[in-house]
């Protein structure tokens, strides 16, 4: 049996162990990506084989957060794909303005770059006071980092450019303090953000959202899981609520597609059908 095939078996055993031991179900994650994450994780934790990692996972409780953190792909930047944020500001915010209280769910917030980006735009649109943002991720480690709001300074330049491209009215530097090699975002931006652990695989509806952002999360899922997540979003959204996906994701082929209409198909902004209960 080739080495790769043996690894496949190991990855499956690892996933099974993770589910039986800790309750995390990765069975519907895109297999190739999952395998790479596991291999990566094994080498990062100093395990020679995945089986060794599995063995440690079964016995060492403390390893779990690292495993979960290692399995997620917390990559993002502030105002990533600025045009999406611009579209949100121009097309979605004016509608949100008509709600007395605005609930926004950022599903898969990773290190929080997008949450802060959103908070800044909402602040500038004068909506932030009325907003309650739920930033969720299934990795506690990521949530802790997101809550800190500290990012390397070397990214600041790119973030600033994105911010301006997204239609920012001021300067991004108004919202952070840079010290040494890090920038810390203004804590006031967090005042209406609730960071919480939520796993799209198994957890249910927890709020009534007017806008859900879930960008570059579904690509790691198989179709079944994507559909599950989309139905979760559908049940969470108010009628005519908005859903914003990553620019590589689309719902055209998902069975939930009929419950959504595109508001801006290019930027992957959808709206829940009014009659879709």
């Amino acid at each position: 049996m080739a080495r790769s095939e043996i690894e496949d078996v190991e990855v499956e055993l690892f996933a099974r162990a993770l589910q039986l031991r800790h309750g995390y179900d990765f069975s519907h994650y895109a297999p190739a990506s999952f395998k790479r994450r596991v291999l990566n994780l094994a080498s990062n934790t100093g395990c020679r084989t995945i089986t060794e990692l599995t063995s440690r996972l079964l016995r060492e409780d403390a390893l779990l957060p690292a495993v979960i953190a290692g399995l997620s792909v917390p990559v993002s930047e502030m105002f990533r794909n600025p045009s999406v944020f611009r579209a949100l500001r121009d097309e979605v915010f004016p509608v949100l303005d008509s709600y007395p209280v605005i609930n926004i769910w950022q599903a898969g917030c990773a290190f929080g770059q997008e949450v802060y980006s959103l908070a800044i735009l909402l602040e500038e649109a004068g909506l932030y006071e009325r907003c309650q943002i739920f930033a969720t991720d299934f990795s506690d480690a990521a949530l802790v980092r997101a809550q800190e709001g500290i990012f390397p300074t070397r990214d600041a330049r790119a973030y600033s450019e994105n911010y301006l491209a997204a239609g920012g009215k001021r300067s991004l530097s108004d919202y952070y303090h840079a010290r040494y090699e890090f920038m810390k975002l203004d804590e006031r931006l967090q005042r209406n953000v609730t960071f919480a652990n939520h796993n799209l695989v198994c957890d249910g509806v927890f709020c009534e959202a007017h806008l859900i952002l879930c960008r570059n999360v579904l690509i790691y899922f198989t179709d079944v899981l994507q559909d599950h997540a989309l139905s979760l979003f559908r049940n969470s959204l108010v009628r005519n609520g908005f859903l914003c996906l990553g620019n590589r994701e689309n719902i055209d082929f998902a069975s939930s597609a009929r419950h959504f209409v595109a508001v801006n198909a290019r930027e992957r902004i959808y709206r829940k059908h009014a009659d879709s209960a």
Partner: protein, 1222 residues
């Protein structure tokens, strides 16, 4: 047999010969008959000639006799008379006698007997002449002239008589017998003729009979031998044409044309059968090919192929083996009616078995008479081996794709085999296509997977790259650090030694200092606490103040609003029942009120600025526009007071500055207003320029980045000693100024505060009695952030303040609600146009006959409606537009434009489009009327009842099937806007300006939807909702349309009644329309209001606290729980939950959501558990989290039980029962 032979012989004769034969027979009979007749005729004519001959003979005889007798007589005469004259007569007759006798002799030459007699007669004649006549003549001549002649003659005569008599008698006898002989011969001939004729008759009759028989025989034979076979053939042809081939064609061996036709038909039949078979094969092939093309997999293809073909060729079993390219084996892909047998493989190699053999040879193999122990064809009631088996290879250009095998009870006939043969290429092509498609699909899927994979790995690459960069940087940093540290270490070693010594010395010093510091710190701490307390106190005071102001403003403005409207109405004296003095008083009241409103606005502005509630909104502020608007605003004041007014802008200024334009205008209006107020003659000038350095300094801005607005007047001026105070709040030059010039004295104070707010300042220079100069210096760009004073909570402006003020002013001046009436056409017949009010049901009659128009008006009035009448189309259209009647009765024949044009224009106009139109006309064109959208058509003359039913129809169409919406909004413009937005044929909008009006309307009518503005005069929107929800019956769905922001508490409160809350904003009308449409046009109803109670005795009367931030959840839950008789207390977050527990001691159980903003569920539960008295309070955690660890976390945090979302109501209720029972 002989007959058959004869028939056969006959039948074999060609039709031409048959015809010739038949006609020849008839001809012969005919010729025979005619010859017989001709013969008979000739006989007859012969007899007739003989009769004529006999008669001639007899005539000759008679003449001869007569000649003899004449000669006798002549002799006698001569004898008696002796006259010689008479002698010639004798000679003549003798000559005639001989002549006749000779001719008779000639005639009767054929009759020897007569000849003999005539010879005898001749002899007798000669004897007579010689013996009698000659002697007489000679005697007589001798005696002639003798006297005794008579005697002599007599004697002679007697001698003569004696001689001639016997001769003559003998002669007569001869003649008689001759004649008799002739007559007898004639008779004999006649008798012979009769006989001949008799025979002829017999012959003719015989011939006729024969002819008839021949004809009948010919007809019979023709029918039997020609017509019948031909008809038979025709029938067969018809059957053939009808695709019936199940017959044999007889008579093919016949030699005639029918035989030929039959043979041709046989060929034709075979061709038809062939064509039919071809067609059957073609259609089946194409049908099957079509079905095969839709197969998506090879298995499906095989199943389709076997299932489609087998029944078509009556095969009981069919299998398809597809070729596996790689190992050259044939796999069973699909079958039909096939039952697997143990020893029969599902795989064959090439050459193995029949299947393999067919594959190897690439040609069909047919086996007949299969042995009995062959595999069997199964059915539910038995099984039997097939009789025939056929295996066909599936080839595409000699390339084997598979093998198809069939088994059947009957041998496969040629057609079935041909079907198979023809089908095979198509099936092969389809299979090949399918194979290719599958291959392509596989490739596509593969590519898609790769693409997806690529995306994902790209993402991952980013992470890795990021990680690498980070590690790299870290490493670099560490390396540099290490080098530096090394160097530093060396350097510091020496330093350390020195420092250690110094440290010892300073330690003591430090100890002393720290003691002092501790003391100072304690003082500081106590001071800080004090400061904090004071700050809190201040904040509270400020909150109280702003609350007070907000309340006051409302309290003040509400009565002021009505005061302004009413006094304005009075002053306008529309009723005409007030005298001049009273009108003047009203005007005074109105003006005082207006002043009061301005004063209040000033105070509010000022206090808002002081409370830090005034917002500054940066925007591009066009200086040119500003100057123009100033001129526009004050031009008429300047004209009125005859004071010159100029606005100038210096050169080189930017076109616009970035500041809060509204505030700048407020400042400028204040200053310029003041300037005009205090200037009786001269001029007021406004100059916009860069400030002088001194001014800039005073305003604390840089000259180059600031703009100065200077207002210079030539008014009364300000004494120097007062200059310092004029900007003070509530301070004026002196008390009398206020009375003389009016105004609150707050303007300048506001101007100063505003200019400070905008980052600038204001200065004044003045010379008493010659004028003042106010200069406002503002920075070119303001910084918005930081100037929004106050905390964010406090920063919410109370928007209702501005709205109320605007509304008051607007409604005060909009005194006359109806548009000018100057254009109204004169009433045609007296109608109710002056009595109309909006709620009236109005019918417009467009009718040119005054009598009928009057009748209609009368009838309309009697029904209790208002009537409008127009005598021509144009005025009808005008009235329809102007008064929007409930319905229109329309005549077709009108003096100007006809009724058709009228209805068309009504339907084109948005205002009148929805008004139902009913025709009443003398011409009957109901169809056209309906086409144009009329609700009905009546033909004149009309019955009273018909007109009444027309009214009914109009009103029904007007109200019929429409959804009713109640719009509650105190602002008329807003109502108009919303009505326009929602207006459609299907929606009837009733407007109410206040909650009280709305309640009254709800008493009398039901509505499908309510749109409610929260900011209402009198009863507020919230109160209205409370009152309305208490009423019996179902509450219609409510859409809240609010002009102001709602606090979280307020939204929660509203959510009890509706989840449709729309805050006014740029896109709000769009959403309002969405929400309203949802309720008006769909069956969806808001189920919030009506509670059906289903009391649960175990739960009734208990109190539960529901803690959840999800509003949907909280209301769904509380609704169900209330239905069960529980009383529900709600909290949206942890803090509120704790507060509720403090305040509400009756709470017996808590439903706790985990994911909440602020204090989450875990924290709240922990907190609850620390409180005395709540240690044992049952708490059920409700969470969307579903993992096993989450449950433990909840229980750890103090929950008694755990319930996953979405909530199973039965489970929740049983859980509640358990925990409440315990």
């Amino acid at each position: 047999m002989p007959r058959q032979w004869a028939a056969g012989w006959l039948a074999n004769l060609p039709i031409q010969r048959k015809l010739v034969l038949a006609f020849a027979l008839i001809l012969v009979a005919f010729v025979l008959a005619v010859s017989a007749i001709l013969y008979a005729l000739s006989e007859q004519s012969k007899v007739e000639s003989w009769a004529r001959h006999t008669r001639d003979v007899m005539d000759g005889i008679t003449l001869t006799r007569r000649a003899a007798h004449e000669a006798d007589l002549a002799l006698r005469g001569f004898n008696m008379s002796g006259d010689l004259q008479r002698l010639p007569g004798y000679d003549t007759n003798i000559a005639a006698f001989h002549k006749n006798l000779d001719s008779v002799r000639a005639l009767s030459a054929d009759a020897p007997e007569v000849q003999v007699r005539l010879d005898h007669a001749h002899d007798l004649g000669a004897k007579w002449i010689e013996q009698a006549a000659q002697p007489l003549i000679a005697q007589t001549r001798r005696i002639a002239g003798s006297t005794n002649y008579d005697n002599a003659s007599y004697k002679t005569g007697i001698d003569y008589l004696g001689t001639s008599g016997p001769i003559l008698r003998e002669l007569d006898a001869e003649f008689d017998s001759s004649m008799k002989t002739e007559r007898d011969a004639l008779d004999a001939r006649n008798a012979r003729l009769d006989h001949t004729i008799e025979r002829l008759r017999m012959l003719v009759i015989g011939m006729l009979a024969l002819g008839t028989v021949i004809c009948l025989a010919a007809i019979w034979l023709a029918s039997r031998l020609m017509t019948r076979p031909i008809r038979h053939l025709t029938d067969l042809m018809t059957r053939l044409a009808g695709k019936d081939h199940a017959f044999e064609i007889d008579g093919q061996n016949r030699g005639d044309e029918i035989g030929a036709t039959a043979r041709a038909l046989q060929v034709f039949k075979e061709a038809a059968i062939e064509t039919n078979n071809q067609n059957w094969i073609k259609s089946n092939v194409s049908e099957i090919a079509g079905i095969l093309q839709s197969a998506a997999t090879r298995g499906e293809f095989a199943r389709a192929l076997t299932a489609e073909v087998a029944p078509r060729i009556n095969a009981g079993v069919a299998v398809f083996y597809g070729l596996e390219e790689q190992d050259k084996r044939l796999d069973l892909l699909g079958s039909y009616g096939f039952r697997q047998r143990k020893h029969l493989g599902t795989r064959y190699g090439l050459g193995e078995g029949l299947v393999g053999q067919a594959a190897l040879e690439r040609k069909a193999i047919v086996l007949e008479q299969v042995p009995a122990d062959y595999m069997t064809i199964h059915s539910g009631i038995g099984e039997a081996p097939p009789r025939s088996v056929i295996a066909m290879p599936l080839l595409l250009q000699d390339h084997l794709l598979g093998v198809l095998e069939f088994g059947s009870f009957a041998p496969f006939n040629r057609v079935q085999q041909r079907l198979l043969e023809e089908l095979m290429p198509f099936a092969a092509l389809s299979l090949e296509n399918l194979n290719r498609t599958l291959h392509t699909q596989e490739l596509l899927t593969h590519t898609q997977a790769q693409a997806k994979e690529l995306q994902v790995s790209e993402e991952e690459m980013r992470v890795q790259q990021e990680e690498l960069t980070a590690t790299n940087e870290e490493l670099q940093g560490k390396t540099t650090e290490l080098v530096e540290q090394q160097q530093r270490l060396r350097a510091s070693e020496e330093e350390l030694r020195v420092q250690a010594e110094e440290l010892q010395a300073s330690n003591e010093e430090l100890r002393q200092k720290s003691e002092t510091l501790n003391e100072q710190k304690q003082v500081l701490v106590s001071l800080q606490i004090e400061t904090e307390l004071k700050a809190e106190e201040l904040a509270r005071a400020s909150q109280y103040k702003s609350d007070f102001l907000a309340n006051m403003s409302h309290e003040l403005r509400t009565p002021l609003n009505s005061l302004l409207i009413l006094s304005r109405n009075l002053a306008d004296n529309e009723g005409g029942n007030l005298d001049g003095e009273q009108v003047e008083s009203a005007r005074v009241i109105y003006e005082s009120g207006s002043n009061l409103l301005r004063l209040i606005n000033d105070i509010l502005d000022l206090s808002k600025i002081e409370a830090g509630k005034m917002h500054v909104v940066g925007e591009d502020f066009q200086l040119q526009h500003f100057a123009q608007s100033l001129i526009r605003r004050f031009k008429h004041v300047a004209n009125e007071k005859a004071v010159q007014f100029d606005v100038s802008i210096a050169d080189h200024l930017p076109a616009s500055i970035y500041t809060d334009g509204a505030r700048v205008e407020q400042i400028a209006n204040n200053l310029v207003g003041n300037a005009f107020k205090f200037t009786r003659e001269g001029s007021v000038r406004v100059e916009i320029a860069r400030p002088t350095p001194e001014l800039a300094l005073r305003a604390n801005v840089k000259t180059a980045e600031a703009i100065a607005f200077t207002v210079i007047d030539t008014g009364i001026g300000i004494p120097q000693d007062k200059l310092g105070h004029i900007f003070g709040t509530f301070e004026q030059m002196d008390a009398s100024t206020s009375r003389k010039y009016g105004g609150s004295g707050l303007g300048l104070a506001i101007a100063r505060k505003l200019s400070e707010l905008l980052g600038g300042g204001i200065t004044v220079q003045s010379v008493l009695n010659s004028g003042s100069t106010f200069t406002v210096v503002l920075p070119e760009r303001i910084e918005t952030i930081g100037h929004t004073a106050g905390s964010h909570e406090a920063a919410m402006p109370p928007p209702e303040l501005r709205t109320v003020a605007a509304t008051a002013a607007a409604s005060a001046f909009a005194s006359s609600p109806v548009a000018p009436r100057g254009l109204v056409p004169k009433p045609w017949v007296p109608d109710d146009r002056d009595l109309l009010s909006e709620s009236d049901t109005t019918i417009l009659a467009i009718e040119d006959d005054p009598v009928f128009a009057r009748t209609l008006v009368d009838m309309i009035r009697r029904k209790g409606y208002r009537a409008l009448a127009a005598g021509d189309g144009e005025s009808g259209l005008y009235l329809a537009r102007e008064f929007k009647p409930t319905g229109i009765l329309l005549d077709v024949m009108l003096p100007d434009i006809d009724g058709w044009a009228v209805i068309e224009r009504l339907k084109q106009d948005n205002v009148t489009r929805r008004i139902p139109v009913h025709f009443i006309s003398a011409i009957d064109e109901a169809a056209r009327a309906r086409e144009l959208g009329a609700v009905g058509f009546l033909t004149k003359p009309v019955e009273r009842d018909a007109v009444l039913s027309a009214f009914e129809r109009l009103l029904q169409s007007s109200a019929g099937n429409r959804r009713r919406m109640l719009l509650i909004d105190d602002d008329e413009d807003s109502r108009l806007a919303i009505s326009r937005l929602i207006a459609s044929d299907k929606v009837q909008i009733t407007e109410a300006a206040s909650a009280e009006d709305a309640l009254e309307l709800l008493d009398h009518a039901s509505f499908d939807c309510i749109v409610l503005d929260l900011g209402l005069p009198g009863m507020s929107g919230f109160e209205f909702l409370e009152v309305v929800s208490q009423r019996p019956g179902t509450l219609p769905p409510i859409v809240i349309h609010s002009g102001r922001d709602l606090s979280r508490e307020e939204s929660v409160k509203l959510r009890q009644y509706t989840d449709s809350i729309v805050i006014k904003g740029t896109r709000s009308l769009e959403r309002l329309l969405d929400e309203v449409s949802l309720f008006l046009h769909s069956v969806r109803r808001n189920a919030s209001a009506h509670v059906v109670r289903d009391i649960d005795s175990g739960l009734s009367g208990r109190t539960v606290l529901v803690v959840d931030d999800d509003m949907r959840n909280i209301f769904a839950l509380s609704k169900i729980l209330r239905e069960k008789g529980l009383s529900v207390v709600m909290a949206q977050d942890g803090h509120k939950a704790l507060r509720q527990l403090e305040e509400n001691k009756s709470i017996e159980i808590v439903l706790m959501d985990i994911m909440m903003p602020g204090m989450d569920g875990y924290e709240t539960m922990r907190e609850i558990r620390t409180r005395p008295g709540h240690a044992k309070l049952p708490i059920i955690a409700v969470t969307a989290k579903a993992m096993s660890g989450d449950r433990d976390k909840c229980l750890e945090a103090g929950a008694n039980d755990y319930l996953a979302k979405p909530i199973d109501i039965d489970k929740l209720l049983s859980m509640l029962r358990i925990w409440l029972h315990a």
